[in-house]
Symmetry: D2
Subunit: 341 residues, 4 copies
């Protein structure tokens, strides 16, 4: 069936499949020490304008969030995140599992603001009993957010400034980083992300890879013995080549950006289709995830012909749903959708 | 200096000190297996009207909350609590340290409502992705709350009903249970607490003991090998007699209730003193903790003559402060305070 | 360079690569709910003779061990394992990370015995203070072991019987299960493994897959909400198809056994080469891992021409090394090795 | 009944009870900030010859071990201990509960040796795969050991030197420190313990207090925000005065040493009684714990008249038992025992 359920419904970009096949029988060392990982790391460092960055490849997003947050926080610290952040709500408590609280800020449109972060930090320090409280130790935000929205360069800069003022590492979850960078509304470059964040990851799973996320520690700030900690979390892939080859391919000839731009073009077309038919949007998203408010009867009717995601209950008779495009969305998918609507 | 800082500024009730001295050189077995623990357990079970309850003694409140919540939750579950709950904000992340999320509900006056709890549970189950979320596994509330307020019998019954409907154990933090039961406004008895809750604790530290809290599992629902889990958390007291003797004394001749009633009488007098002088209250508390809104200059002036607690910033020129009475508050303390005001 | 470093130096079996390519652009649902996972599960259940088993796919071995052990143990329990077991020594403390002790037994040739397990359990129960000790909660063994050795059917049956007698689930780590089953010395079938164990995993990473292990809960004993717990550990793969397609291929036309048998034939040839040249073996291994004792000078000389693994120091002038064959070892590799020796 | 079960069968030394009673109604601040804690800290620092030490009071021994070890280790590190160490066997997995492995060394007579520690560290570093292993991060030993034995000054110095060479903090568990220092066989002073260790604790529970252990960080090496971490573990006592007053008393007029010396005199008398009657000792202990090998029939007979502890099975017809003296043992207890034997 026609599907806009998520941005991970297809396998990998054909170019990746080709490279995996070509290198398949080469004998390579394990755990990320092979030449393809090496090459991918070099290309990513270059793309980020960070010659001194450390780059590690992990398998999935929740795993990456858990590892980075738990290895960068001191035991008495928690991570500041939006209430709607992926780590707050959709990772089955993976952060708490490692012993740390998620310090939630309501935010707006899925975003944190520098002002809200500073208010939380100041309230903490003003409290005479703050030694009995969880110390704010890090800031987590998603770019784009879980609602498809983007931070402007000014907003990210303000957040980064506040973080440095309070010595809080800034961590950017880039599960869909490509779709953010490629958005027509975006004014932040990959180099700027790397400069503003202390650590971030470049999402592969949702942007063309079978699996894999590339973690970038931008400031010589890799947690000590990080490889051992990856192993301790059960997250060290034996055949690291699987990740290295994929990222090496994604960062060759701008493939990562080219396929991200395609997804954004598809999203804009999808938006037009819904707009033309008078559908209401729950939020104004400039990236590949689009959220519509559907009448529950319409929802039922539509769901028999096309796949999409339930997002949340809007009111008794309406529901918020998500349609996602990706690198694999075809023009023909949109034509078919147009006819359905 | 005159002090209303907290309800744990004095040692133990003199009757307890006397019993500790009298039994001091007796040879007793360790880890809670002595005859005083046995006697205290029998008295508590009787007072609760729970002949089949299991009773354990622990040293402090955060320890008790951590142990009960972490041993009663399944690994994939979190505990529902008010945003202002002690476990949410003032235990340095002790719950998260054990791997569990605190699922916060804003509430009002420090209280949860049955409606809010059910809404949270229903939202969870309605979410198609709830397998990627923390399962609500238990409800935590404080009686009285951190703001001195009380649940009525109707409110507690409604919460208990919702909990049973959804198979969520109801845990009542009774750090100040005596002061709640003794309040002129209270309509719930200890027996009813024991019937409505699945587990609760009777606070000793704040109600006359040097240390110690008595945990009551009311429904044959003690976590398996609980003693070993107490030990594993570093919470097993070698000389369990210290706790047994104290609770045995507190539950002899109604001492626990008598000293609680005294504290409430003192609190009512303290309230009158502030009311007469035209002070504003932050919240209407019928128990031993009283919260006033002080002009910051007045606060500074007052704090040179009497000790009390900072609670939270009210606005730029005002602060919320707490005055607590306890079993050890003297009539003379109130006279002295009256003169100061 | 010629390499016998490990059994995960190549990519995936060409048949797997072919199936991944063929299915690459199909739109499939995530998290293991796709039709290939479904088909692979059905084939595995059939191969195990366990129509009622539950099968889950995970990415790697340490992850699998961590998840199974931590979700099957009660908080106060530890897992019994050989001192040389993978979970004891080569997983960076992944079991302890989840809060559980590995209760080590010295064993012999990398193996546990039923007698040693029962002795440990009896010693525990005989101790008056056993409530202050870690409860034995599960038995972990590897088939084949980390030293390439195998348990006979009699040995495994005796261990399984002891485990059932003491209600300890038996968990078999099958990272190299195929190489054990295919060994000329093996007398246990996959069905028997499934019958004797309470849970085991069929290793993919080392037996033909890019990544992936298939966990089989044989007795309707899957930990509650296991999917959520996988997510909580950061171990849930978004594109579950990657694992489903691989195992579906491995369990089609006996591919898993055919490639395992090939590896064993290669191992036997490798053994002959070393035996003919008078090399000493550290242990008599009937599977794909072979351990030789090399004079340190010989080691240095050899390591310039062929890759293999350091295993452990034997004495001041000798070292134990490992040569591993796998599904990807070629006859020509062995000819080349023969010439080198 | 006459009891030599343990060194914590009585309450507190009468001098402590007197001071607790005298100060009982003073209003004091909580969580260890009162003047008695302050005074006790000053006296302990002086007694240790460590003007710059940091001193914290905790409630019990397992709690102390758990807190110190888990806050001083990095996440990827484990603690080296004797197989017979308290943390290895009798704390219900309290160390593993915090995520860390206990790296066990068999040792002899309950003791570690510098040679064994260095061998473990060297083996670790020599292993090519040590990044997949738990890093040795700290050394734990008990003085006296769980078998009553002592380290000589030379042995401790050698261990301390090895620890510093490998940058491993040395932690000395002093649950029975007084009884070690007071032993006729001891050649190490408290100042030397403080100089050789990086952190140690002075046991109160077993040496005259109702509860309480004094942790001494000797080298400006207190873990960051230690108070918050104490709270997070549920180990922060509200009425810190209970610990402060006890240690202030124990360190006034050498009370701690005087009562320890008494216990040692009693132990020597007890030893003579058993020796005279021809009993066999399991180990030659110069401190307050004595271990005898009893014929099982004799054991049964004796246990009807005097209380002591089961220690371990010796062989089919013999058992190792423990008799402990303490500050509270009376001359009359020994006379009574003499008659029984």
């Amino acid at each position: 069936m026609l599907s806009f359920t998520s941005d991970y419904i297809a396998g990998a970009h054909p170019e990746i499949m080709k490279r995996l096949a070509e290198t398949n029988l080469e004998n390579l060392s394990g755990y990320g020490t092979d030449k393809y990982c090496e090459s991918a790391i070099a290309k990513i460092k270059k793309a980020c304008g960070c010659p001194n960055a450390d780059v590690y490849f992990l398998v999935g997003g929740t795993q990456t969030n858990q590892l980075i947050i738990s290895t960068m926080l001191a035991p008495y610290e928690g991570v500041i995140a939006a209430t709607t952040g992926h780590v707050s709500v959709h990772e089955a408590g993976a952060i708490e599992y490692t012993g740390h609280k998620v310090l939630e800020i309501a935010g707006a449109d899925g975003k944190l603001s520098a002002t809200d972060i500073e208010a939380l930090v100041n309230t903490f320090h003003a409290d005479e009993n703050h030694e009995h409280m969880v110390f704010p130790g890090m800031v987590y935000l998603s770019f784009p957010t879980e609602y498809g929205t983007l931070y402007t360069k000014d907003e990210l800069t303000a957040i980064s400034d506040i973080c440095r003022k309070h010595q809080l590492p800034l961590y950017i979850d880039g599960a869909r980083l490509g779709y953010g960078l490629a958005s027509y509304k975006n004014d932040v470059s990959l180099e700027e992300i790397a400069r503003l964040a202390d650590v971030f990851y470049i999402g592969g799973t949702k942007v063309g890879a079978l699996c894999g996320e590339a973690v970038v520690f931008t400031k010589n700030n890799t947690p000590k013995h990080f490889l051992t900690q990856i192993k301790q979390h059960g997250a060290l892939l034996a055949k690291g080549r699987l990740l290295g080859i994929q990222f090496d391919t994604l960062f060759t000839d701008q493939l990562y950006m080219r396929i991200s731009e395609h997804a954004i073009r598809m999203a804009e077309k999808l938006k037009s289709l819904f707009t033309q038919k008078g559908y209401r949007f729950f939020i104004d998203s400039p990236t590949n995830q689009q959220f519509m408010i559907l009448d529950n009867e319409k929802l039922k009717e539509l769901s028999e012909k096309v796949e999409f995601s339930f997002w949340e209950t809007y009111d008794k008779t309406h529901t918020v749903v998500r349609f996602a495009t990706s690198w694999s969305t075809q023009e023909s998918d949109l034509s078919a959708l147009g006819e359905l609507l």
